[in-house]
């Protein structure tokens, strides 16, 4: 694994980059978690990031809306570089939807209030319009009947779908999914993946960190394989899964696909 060249079989159409990372580096103490990351995500593209635990894929996802800062390199969203912490960054985050592994719904607010909060406080939408939109989104992800419950009263799959609705309520330009199904019971994974499939079909730009290879195969335009803080391979899903180029990817796939 001394060879650092990235195998690129899928290059996004140039000129329509929505998210662009160039030469991004980050350390956690002595650990070099992101090493010279170059990644461009085009408008409408669905990029799935896979790789072994500790490969830096979650960190990569979190740098895109600056929940993690980077040590060096540049990240731009829609042509604008990520600003420092403050009003401008908050404005930019509103345009970048994020779905977490542990849902992170606001525990003291009802499902409906969760989806309305950002609209009212950030987008300054009036209450009635916000509620209408929240109810429509909750219907869309299939939890419309749970609107008045509190997050703790919902199953994990339902909570995650609410979290997706909460992110969608901001009309984001891009959605980041940080292992959205990793904390779910097996029978709830599909209900969340279906919502994500639908989003992908509707043309949402998505960055998805996941271990769900089925989702990667069916919904991704491009698979990015990370290991040890580097992007080792980028390819269209068919090619990546049937004919991985790098040894690291072959090794990874052999461990997860055949058992």
């Amino acid at each position: 694994m001394t060879e650092v060249s990235v195998t690129k079989d899928a290059t996004p159409p140039a000129g329509d980059a929505l998210v662009a990372l160039s030469q991004v580096n980050k350390h956690f103490g002595a650990l070099h978690v992101l090493q010279d990351i170059d990644l461009t995500i085009a408008r409408g593209e669905v990029v799935v990031v896979i790789g072994p635990s500790g490969s830096g894929k979650s960190t990569l996802c979190r740098t895109i809306n600056r929940l993690e800062t980077v040590d060096s390199g540049a990240i731009t969203i829609d042509g604008k570089p990520l600003p420092q912490e403050g009003k401008e960054l908050a404005r930019l985050r509103a345009d970048v939807g994020m779905v977490f592994q542990s849902f992170n719904l606001f525990a003291h607010k009802t499902v409906l209030e969760n989806v309305m909060l950002g609209q009212i406080k950030v987008r300054k939408t009036d209450k009635k319009a916000a509620e209408e939109k929240a109810r429509a989104l909750l219907d869309r992800v299939g939890v419309g009947t749970q609107a008045d419950k509190y997050p703790a009263q919902l199953s994990g799959g339902q909570q995650q779908r609410v979290a997706i609705a909460r992110a969608l309520a901001m009309d984001p330009k891009v959605m980041l999914f940080d292992e959205p199904t990793s904390a779910l019971d097996p029978e709830m994974i599909n209900e969340v993946l279906e919502v994500m499939q639908q989003l992908a079909r509707d043309g949402m730009t998505m960055v998805v960190v996941t271990h769900e290879m089925g989702f990667a195969r069916s919904a991704a335009n491009r698979v990015v394989f990370m290991a040890d803080g580097r992007i080792v391979e980028e390819a269209v899903p068919d090619q990546f899964f049937s004919n991985p180029r790098s040894d690291r990817a072959k090794d990874f796939l052999s461990k997860i696909l055949h058992h």
């Binding site: 809306n65 929940l67 912490e85 009003k87 908050a90 404005r91 930019l92 985050r93 509103a94 345009d95 970048v96 939807g97 994020m98 977490f100 542990s102 849902f103 992170n104 719904l105 606001f106 525990a107 003291h108 909060l117 950002g118 406080k121 950030v122 509190y150 703790a152 009263q153 979290a163 909460r166 992110a167 901001m170």
Partner: protein, 221 residues
């Protein structure tokens, strides 16, 4: 048996205690919350101020703070807090001193409550574009308050009893009246018992009610 109570305005004195408690409670809740906000905030100067304030103020005896408001603020610096007569000035000074002191404890109780709110809540709030103050005000503090109703009840009960220190600067609350009665009457034990009972009447229901409120408000995770 209780003839000795005649001629004394017991209710009036306890009413002053209640007013001291209520005003100081509201004041310290506000100032304590602001201090907690400073202590968890991203601005180093404010964090430093909050930390210094709490560590200095909570380690000074309340008596010294209350006496300082009178001798230092009023008599040396001529601060009257907008009042003209002696008793109103001292009452306001006592509220100021009690608020300054109790806020330090409110701040620390609240800060421990903030630490019970999972980090993911703040991350989710920031991810939808809320600013630091919005995140604190709309997501973190509401959950933090609910988890510290118990500790804040303790602070409130302590505050109720601490109001007796205001007698040191001549505020005519319960303990002030008690001192007067002890000088003029013979039933020393009974007098103490009456005042002890008066404070229990104030604090016991407070504790019971807030305990119930705390259970009702608890955030389920």
């Amino acid at each position: 048996m209780f003839d000795f109570l005649e001629g004394y305005d017991l209710l009036g004195a306890f009413w002053v205690t209640v007013k001291l408690t209520a005003l100081s409670a509201v004041g310290s809740l506000i100032w304590g919350t602001l201090l907690a906000g400073m202590r968890v905030g991203p601005v180093p100067v404010m964090r430093g101020f909050g930390t210094a304030y709490v560590n200095i103020v909570r380690n000074i005896p309340l008596t010294i703070i209350i006496v300082f408001t009178s001798l230092g603020l009023n008599q040396t610096m001529n601060i009257t807090l907008g009042a003209t007569d002696f008793s109103a000035i001292n009452f306001r000074l006592a509220v100021l001193g009690l608020t300054a002191y109790t806020s330090a404890f409110v701040c620390e109780a609240l800060r421990s409550g903030i630490n019970t709110v999972p980090l993911g809540q703040a991350e989710a709030a920031r991810a939808i574009g809320l600013s630091f103050t919005q995140t604190l005000r709309l997501v973190i503090l509401p959950q933090a308050f609910r988890s510290v109703v118990g500790p804040l009840t303790n602070v409130l009960i302590a505050l109720t009893k601490n109001t007796t220190v205001a007698s040191a600067i001549g505020v005519a609350e319960a303990a002030y009246l008690m001192k007067g009665m002890i000088e003029n009457e013979a039933q020393l034990l009974l007098i103490s018992a009456v005042f002890a009972f008066g404070f229990i009447v104030l604090t016991l229901p407070t504790g019971l009610i807030l305990n119930w409120v705390g259970k009702k408000l608890a955030v389920k995770r």
